[in-house]
């Protein structure tokens, strides 16, 4: 999602933005239709997918904007999601060289870890440690949601290769 240096980079960038927009729409159009403690987090997948394609600074901005969006729509702990998303996107962008080789399952594992970390960090930043059932949520439902996010990431990378895989240099 950085400035394209040649036409193929431009097309790749366009596809990346399209993939991000599709996941964003899916998060807010499909998410509310599903119920239960384990729901797919399309937005976090989109942030992680976008972060591995851009510089850490841009990734931080993408994470900040996405977190701000979550905070605006659920403003009980305004700023918490923004902080966590910024940090996660920045870290993902730094770590992309280590994890984001062309292995789809490693990417799925990374999304799993990212989602779980996101839930843990969000609970910490928003100060919800006194919330009843938080431990069960973080130890049972959050890993399951992270697993679902990892599986979804693998499925997306497999089915929509051109949208979500970085172009091989």
């Amino acid at each position: 999602m950085s400035r394209p240096s040649n036409p193929s980079d431009g097309a790749s960038l366009l596809r990346a933005w399209l993939g991000f927009a599709l996941l964003l729409v899916a998060h807010f159009a499909i998410g509310p239709l599903l119920s239960g403690p384990v729901t797919p987090d399309f937005l976090l997948i989109a942030v992680l997918f976008a972060s591995v394609r851009v510089r850490p600074g841009v990734a931080a901005v993408i994470g900040f904007a996405s977190g701000l969006l979550l905070d605006a729509l659920a403003p009980m702990h305004f700023g918490a999601a923004a902080v966590v998303c910024t940090a996660l996107a920045f870290a993902a962008s730094w770590l992309k060289a280590a994890f984001f080789s062309e292995n789809v399952f490693v990417t799925g594992l990374f999304v799993f870890a990212g989602k779980w970390l996101f839930d843990l960090a969000l609970a910490g930043v928003s100060g919800r440690f006194q919330t009843p059932g938080l431990l069960a949520h973080l130890l049972i439902w959050s890993p399951l949601a992270a697993l679902l996010a990892g599986v979804l990431a693998v499925v997306l990378l497999t089915m929509f290769r051109s949208l979500y895989r970085p172009a091989t240099r």
Binding site: G31, S35, R55, P56, G57, L68, P75, F78, A82, T86
Partner: protein
């Protein structure tokens, strides 16, 4: 090269730091300020996403409440049926009230006692008996027309046969008095079982579809002028010298609710106009109400006036005809006949045919 990489790294770190600081600032802001910022974000840059989420939530709510909505709509439908039943009953009662005002006296109001066996034996049980003055062979009517005739009388109850009963017969005529005959059940299958036949109409008396059939007053049971039904079509029968018409009853089985039992000694023998005037006036009034412009309104009033004039002339003509017939030598004075003589209205057709014809009513 390494200097560029280092400066890029510092820039990235700086951007990330700014984002984190802004986020933390949002986190520590006063609650009112946070709410204002969140609201302004929701209504500006994030408005499309907020709308999308709201729509999805609405869909979810609709899906979740679907069973309750179905249940509620079922309850509403059931209540509507009850309301419709009450409205129908009100209409029937209003019609009966109008009929009572026209009859003035000589009737007993009665309710139908539910028996659930109407379809099987075509009889009704009424909650008025001999204590109320009800006697055998008294006609039973509603605001819409003829229902039947009292067959058995107890002290507080009575049983009536309806027009659908196989033994039901009534001497009938067209509203304008041009055609006479005997009305009896059609005895067809299925829905046709709920129709009537007007038999023995003279061949020259052709009736149009929709012609109103009323009781002729011949015989001692049914006074003249009670609406029986309307002509639906002509039936082809082996009797080439007479016509038979299929008649739609004016009182449908489902509409039989409160009824009036006409007490024959107190009821005028000629009720011509009691039912037909109500029907025609109502339809003309509806036409007036429905007319949207002055021309249509004027036409509707003209129609109303014409109908009234026609009804008056029919009444006068039939009166004259009766008077003339009674003056003729040898003409049986049917009104003065004892009630226990042969009742033309309720005997079988073959026996009716054997009885003397009415002078002037050539078939």
């Amino acid at each position: 090269m390494s200097r560029t990489a280092r400066s890029d790294g510092r820039l990235d770190n700086g951007i990330a730091l700014v984002c984190v600081v802004l986020s933390l600032f949002g986190l520590i802001m006063p609650r009112s300020s946070r709410d204002r910022v969140a609201a302004s974000l929701r209504t500006t840059v994030f408005a499309p996403v907020a709308a999308l989420q709201s729509r999805a939530a609405a869909v979810r709510a609709a899906v979740d409440t679907r069973p309750e909505t179905l249940r509620a709509s079922g309850q509403v439908a059931a209540r509507l049926l009850v309301v419709q039943g009450v409205a129908d009953e009100n209409a029937t009662l209003r019609q009966l009230l109008g009929l009572s005002a026209r009859l003035e006296s000589g009737f007993v109001p009665a309710d139908v006692v539910p028996s659930g066996a109407f379809d099987e034996n075509f009889t009704l049980t009424l909650n008025a008996g001999s204590r109320s003055g009800v006697q055998r062979f008294f006609p039973v009517v509603t605001g819409a027309g003829l229902v039947g005739m009292i067959e058995q009388v107890d002290v507080a109850r009575s049983h009536a046969i309806t027009w659908a009963h196989p033994d039901f017969r009534v001497s009938a005529m067209s509203e304008d008095g041009t055609a006479f005959g005997i009305v009896q059940p059609h005895l067809g299958r299925g829905a046709e079982r709920w129709l009537l036949e007007l038999r023995g109409v003279r061949f020259r008396a052709k009736l149009d579809t929709g012609a109103v059939i009323v009781s002729s007053g011949l015989g001692a049971t049914y006074p003249r002028g009670i609406v029986i039904g309307t002509v639906m079509a002509e039936l082809s029968t082996p009797e080439k010298w007479a016509r038979t018409y299929l008649v739609k009853p004016s009182v449908l089985p489902s509409a039989i609710g409160p009824v009036l039992v006409l007490l024959l000694p107190g009821t005028p023998r000629d009720l011509n106009g009691v039912w037909t005037t109500i029907a025609s006036t109502d339809s003309a009034a509806r036409a007036v109400a429905a007319s949207g412009d002055s021309i249509a309104r004027a036409a509707a009033f003209d129609e109303l006036a014409a109908r009234r004039a026609a009804l008056d002339s029919v009444g006068i003509d039939s009166l004259r005809l009766d008077s003339l017939l009674r003056l003729m030598p040898g003409f049986p004075r049917r009104d003065s006949m004892p009630r226990d003589t042969v009742r033309r209205d309720t005997v079988r057709r073959d026996s009716v045919l054997r009885t003397s014809r009415v002078p002037g009513d050539e078939r």
